[in-house]
Amino acid sequence: MLKIENITVKVLDKTILEDFNLEIQPGEIHVLMGQNGAGKSTVSKVLLRDMHYEVVKGCITLNGKDLLKMNTTEVARDGLFLVNQNPVEIKGVSNAEMLRTALNDQGKKEQNILEFNRSLTTLCEKLEIPTSFIHRDINYNMSGGEKKKMELLHMWVLKPNFIILDEIDSGLDVDSLKLVAKSIQEYYESYKPSILIITHQKALLDIIKPEFVHVLGNKKIIQSGHYELALKIFNEGFSGASIIDKSDACE
């Protein structure tokens, strides 16, 4: 379970979130919406303990542990997994190499290389990624869609129990979006993780139906509801749905 209580977050002395609260129970799917620059991605960076984001007030617990006393590695090992909007490219480090190191570092039983490669090959086929990508440098020279699919491949291997999808739908064509969304849905049905989706698009939520929808504005959650709230925003926009004033947005 994730519990964020009254946190205030600063980056370089600028307050991005203030008195922000959010609670996500195991197996729940939540959506975080908000205008550009509202601070949605800040939430994901704080949770993964990016030290550029300073939590000056409040507390966060993940599975009963004080998240603010954990570092990025510990949070990831505790099962939190972030799919970035724009995953970084790392030249010279292959996906297979990184995943094997990650599994070893997480203390998971070392797999036979052949078995490991076979499982990666199956995942590649499922995600419609060339199998050569397993041994290619992480995200290097890959399209936006390929990067997102590789992130999902990492997810299937590392088996997290809390997934943050930060605009995973950006830069995906219609077919890729469907494939990505179906893969996440399949993972959800297999492992029942908690999921926090950050998105501006309806298409993703047509496949992965969220139970809870939150709107971020004025540095905190200003409205929460169910799927209907998201539909209202998709139809009328934040201003049209009388949820948020443009002056609330902060860059």
């Binding site: 993964l48 990016d50 570092n71 990025t72 590695t73 990831a76 090992r77 997994f81 972030l82 970035n84 995953p87 970084v88 790392i90 030249k91 010279g92 480090v93 190499e97 990184m98 995943l99 190191t101 990650a102 570092d105 997480q106 440098d137 992480i138 990492h154 590392l158």
Partner: protein, 217 residues
């Protein structure tokens, strides 16, 4: 069939792919045709590379150096090409001197150096001279280092261009391990030390194509 002819510290390479591991401290490489040369051992060497007309040499060096001074001089004949990749982990006091004198035209040389500090210092001096009355030459120096401390490496580029008909580029970067890359790997559950090692190793191996060199490193 490939063959290397060795005569009194002179290596003659012609249209071949070769991995070399044992050299005298001072030697010359004569290159003809299309040659790939990987080098495993390159410590305290003084080498002169002569590229014949229309030749193309891809030279890859992937090494650990400790208290080492390496010097490389490159001479191009007309329309020759050099792709030189030098990747090293250094400790102790080290120097790398690369001199390229272009007195002919239509040459394309690329000098790529990647260095990772393991407690030590490194001075890289790269001198590219493109002489008068030459045309259509391309000369690129791309030197990057990952350090713990920015003072432990000095990169001294020296481009001496005496003609207008040339494309000469120099790029030098000295920085610690990239924070974004580190955060990404830690976000997958890697220990900081393992993530750092992977990034450093990838930084070096990223410029090397030859699998044998990479595996033995």
């Amino acid at each position: 069939m490939n063959k290397i002819i060795v005569e009194q510290n002179k290596f003659y390479l012609s249209d071949e792919k070769v991995i070399l591991s044992s050299f005298p401290s001072s030697f010359s490489l004569f290159v003809k045709g299309n040659v790939y040369c990987g080098i495993k051992d390159f410590c305290n060497k003084d080498v002169k590379i002569y590229l014949e007309e229309n030749s193309h040499l891809t030279l890859e060096i992937l090494i650990y150096v400790t208290n080492t001074k390496n010097a490389i001089k490159i001479y191009n004949s007309e329309s020759s090409k050099l792709d030189f990749y030098y990747a090293c982990v250094f400790c102790g006091e080290n120097e790398l001197m690369i001199e390229n004198e272009m007195t002919t035209s239509n040459n394309k040389n690329q000098i790529v150096v990647r260095a990772v500090e393991n407690d030590g210092t490194l001075i890289v001096k790269a001198v590219g001279s493109i002489e008068e009355n030459t045309k259509n030459n391309e000369y690129v120096e791309d030197i990057k280092a990952i350090t713990k401390n920015n003072h432990c490496i000095k990169i001294m580029p020296d481009l001496l261009v005496k003609t207008d008909s040339v494309l000469a580029v120099h790029n030098a970067t000295i920085a610690p391990v990239d924070e974004e890359e580190l955060f990404y790997l830690k976000g997958k559950g890697l220990e900081e030390s393992n993530a750092t090692s992977l990034i450093k190793e990838g930084f070096l191996k990223g410029i090397i194509e030859n699998e044998e060199l990479k595996e033995e490193f």
